[in-house]
Amino acid sequence: MDHGPTTEYHECDELLKYKQKAGLQLFFIYSGIYGIFVLLNTLFPSMMESVIFFGLNLAIVYGFGLIITAILLGLVYNNRCTRMEKRLDTGGIKTEGGKE
């Protein structure tokens, strides 16, 4: 028994490179936002107590922001990848029993 994927599909190099590049771009954007959050908490914890709006402090606003940003960036990534898959008409092709 080999150790290849459970279902067979094909994606061209152009699509793979595009997805990898898009993923890395968004990963670095999010890592930067997360890194700043960790550093602010570590180096300037009192700044996190500052009330920003509606009576909520920076810690809460930034924390919620990180969660919501992760969801939004995920949707952006999926949108970009799906558009490229449609353009190249290769994404999600299956040949063995699977369904997408």
Binding site: E49, G55, L66, N78
Partner: protein, 639 residues
């Protein structure tokens, strides 16, 4: 605290367990091949897989541990929610699709896809087992904590019950039944958590959290020559005093019952505390009396409620934002734990501390990163956040879920569904944790019980549903972990490393035996680690996963000079360093019965040392072995 079982709660609990077992029976009859057993046939729809991802990931640590940590330490507990969710970004943008393309049943398939190396197989199998076992411990601890109030059974019975049910689920139908159990549980968890948050916010905030809440007394004290000589209520007699650093405790006796109080030297007042005193003959007293007397009260309340600068008794009509804003402006009574020995008594004490809301909702109550913190404290915090960020994408039971869908695009879409569901749930944890903090429901002995106890304040039905779902939460996650472990043993170790070339049927049988073995180990460890916060324990599993697995995955994908020996060496380094540093950490020294300060390293979380070193070892070994250790396809081209 003493818990009494409700027949109604027991009924709902067994209904959920029966549903889970029913799913296993149903899919068990359909699962015959290794592909079906280890990867659910590879044809789960991405939307189902996404919610199952959430059900798999939202473990006891997320529901019980994080809510408990927020209830006791405010925003610092929420940092776990933020870190756990952020880790999914790494999984989605970097790992999901490539891993799906390269692998079959386990993440070792992907790591080994270019090399055909037995070394990688062995190290990846060991890593999967170590990470899974570290992850299983908190799940089992959570199960034990849940069963006590729900069924009135001891901790070890809960752990054994979960272990037994999960072994049954996994050995009957493998990944298929695990997927649908996780899907069901993930969906129920989110719906009922949302309902609980609606109830918390709708109830508003009151100075008196409930009708039955114990009225903690404050007495005026008179000090002579820095010793307490009398108190304002003559019914109390002073029978002892103890000082520890800046803390001072006074033992008072009334009606033949003695208990420790905290002395506030600035105001010359004594505030009532909770204590568990162990005497030399082994007898244990709860607030000065045997446990059955029920003098050990649930805690957690507001001290002052301030709305628009004015103090009020209660506030209602709140929404998700104003609920937080009121807590930010007000003051909360927290109970802080300490331990000391006085004469022949070993005293565990929880004393009251009034904490401003702006401190509750900002960092510093658990992680010492505010003023007065040391460099090691800050390093510890960064280390934890690093491990949470990089750990998710390296957890074996998360990675195997990429093989249950048909294509890389489906893997991506299911990850996005997971991020949305998990992110939404983590926002809810803040409200559940804060709700428990101010609702007079906390059991100081078990932070893990905060969310179920909060639900109990809204009636037996809510408690029964939340507890049953929490139990299903443990079942779902433990099932995923045991499937991952069983794949590591049967597929990676026996089939690939030992080269036994098992038939499809024998591989499934081997996987089932491995599942039984892992389940038994998990039961024993779950009993041994009773009482530790489950979110903290899961943080350690993340650190091991991030150290052992992630450097290999990332370098394989993005560095062409990576070799099989580099990968094997990196995994070995990550496991040894992460586990070694955990065993030498201050928290573990306390667990051994030693002083935390005796630990050779001040770090509780090893990630900041073990992750970079694992990367470094991979690079150095790969550069040293580069020419001899080419990927299979390159060798083929040369020959």
């Amino acid at each position: 605290m003493i818990y009494t079982a409700s027949p109604f709660a027991v009924g709902i609990f067994f209904a959920v367990v029966a549903a889970v077992l029913g799913i296993s029976f149903y899919f068990g009859r359909k699962t015959t091949s290794a592909k079906g057993y280890f990867a659910a046939g590879g044809n789960i729809h991405w939307s189902v897989n996404g919610i199952a991802f959430a059900g798999d990931y939202l473990s006891a640590a997320s529901f019980l541990g994080i809510c408990g940590m927020i209830a006791f330490s405010g925003f610092d507990g929420f940092l776990y929610s933020i870190g756990y969710l952020a880790g999914w970004v790494v999984a989605l943008f970097v790992v999901a699709e490539p891993l799906k393309r390269l692998g079959k049943f386990t993440f070792a398939d992907a790591l080994d896809s270019k090399f055909g190396s037995r070394g990688i197989r062995l190290m990846a199998a060991i890593s999967t087992l170590v990470v899974s076992i570290f992850y299983l411990i908190p799940q089992m601890v959570g199960a034990g904590a849940l069963v006590t109030p729900l069924l009135g059974l001891p901790h070890w019975v809960g752990v054994t019950l979960v272990g037994g049910i999960v072994i049954f689920i996994v050995t009957t139908a493998g990944m298929k039944s695990t997927t649908y159990v996780q899907f069901l549980k993930g969906a129920l968890l989110m719906v009922f958590s949302l309902l609980l948050v609606f109830l918390v916010i709708g109830k508003g905030i009151n100075l008196e959290p409930s009708e039955n809440y114990h009225d903690f007394i404050t007495l005026q004290a008179e000090l002579t020559d820095d010793s307490v000589t009398s108190v304002s209520d003559p019914a109390y007699t002073i029978v002892g005093e103890y000082s520890k650093n800046d803390l001072r405790f006074v033992k008072l006796e009334k009606d033949g019952i003695s208990n420790w109080w905290k002395l506030e030297t600035e105001t010359c007042t004594l505030t009532e505390a909770l204590t568990i005193v162990t005497l030399t003959d082994g007898a244990v007293l709860y607030n000065g009396a045997p446990r059955e007397e029920q003098l050990f009260f649930p805690v957690g309340s507001m001290h002052e409620i301030t709305v628009d600068g004015e103090q009020v008794e209660s506030v209602s009509g709140l929404n998700a934002i104003s609920f937080l804003a009121v807590i930010q402006e007000s003051e909360v009574v927290r109970f802080i734990a300490d331990v000391f020995t006085s004469g022949d008594e070993r005293v565990r004490i929880w004393y009251q501390e009034v904490t401003p809301g702006n401190e509750i909702l900002s960092p510093g109550l658990k992680f010492h990163i505010d003023e007065g913190s040391t460099f090691a404290d800050k390093l510890n915090f960064i280390s934890l956040m690093l491990a949470l960020f990089f750990g998710t994408a390296a957890l074996p039971h998360v990675l195997i879920r990429y093989y249950t869908v048909s294509t890389p695009a489906a893997a991506r879409k299911s990850t996005i569904v997971a991020i949305s569901a998990i992110g939404f749930f983590y926002i809810l944890t803040l409200y559940m944790g804060l709700g428990a903090m101010i609702s007079g429901v906390l059991d100081v002995e078990s932070s893990n019980m905060s969310a179920p106890l909060l639900s109990q304040s809204f009636g037996t039905l809510m408690f029964a549903c939340i507890s049953a779902i929490a139990f299903a939460t443990v079942l779902g996650t433990v099932s995923g972990l045991i499937v991952a472990s069983s794949g590591a043993v049967a597929h990676d170790f026996i089939d690939r490393f030992l080269g036994k070339k098992l038939t499809d049927h024998k591989k499934v049988i081997a996987g089932k035996f491995a599942a039984v073995g892992t389940g038994i180990i998990a039961i024993l460890l779950g009993i041994a680690f009773k009482g530790m916060n489950v979110a903290y324990l899961v943080g350690l599993a993340f650190a091991i996963a991030a150290s052992a697995n992630l450097p290999s995955i990332l370098m394989l994908l993005f560095w062409k000079k990576t070799t099989s020996k580099g990968i094997a060496a990196s995994i070995a380094t990550g496991i040894v360093l992460a586990v070694g540093l955990i065993l030498l950490s201050p928290s573990m020294f306390v667990r051994y019965g030693l002083e935390a300060s005796a630990a050779p390293l001040p770090l509780d979380n090893p990630g900041i040392i073990s992750i970079p070193l694992s990367f470094a070892v991979l690079i150095i070994v790969s550069l040293m072995t580069g020419k001899k250790d080419q990927p299979q396809e390159e060798k083929a081209l040369i020959s």
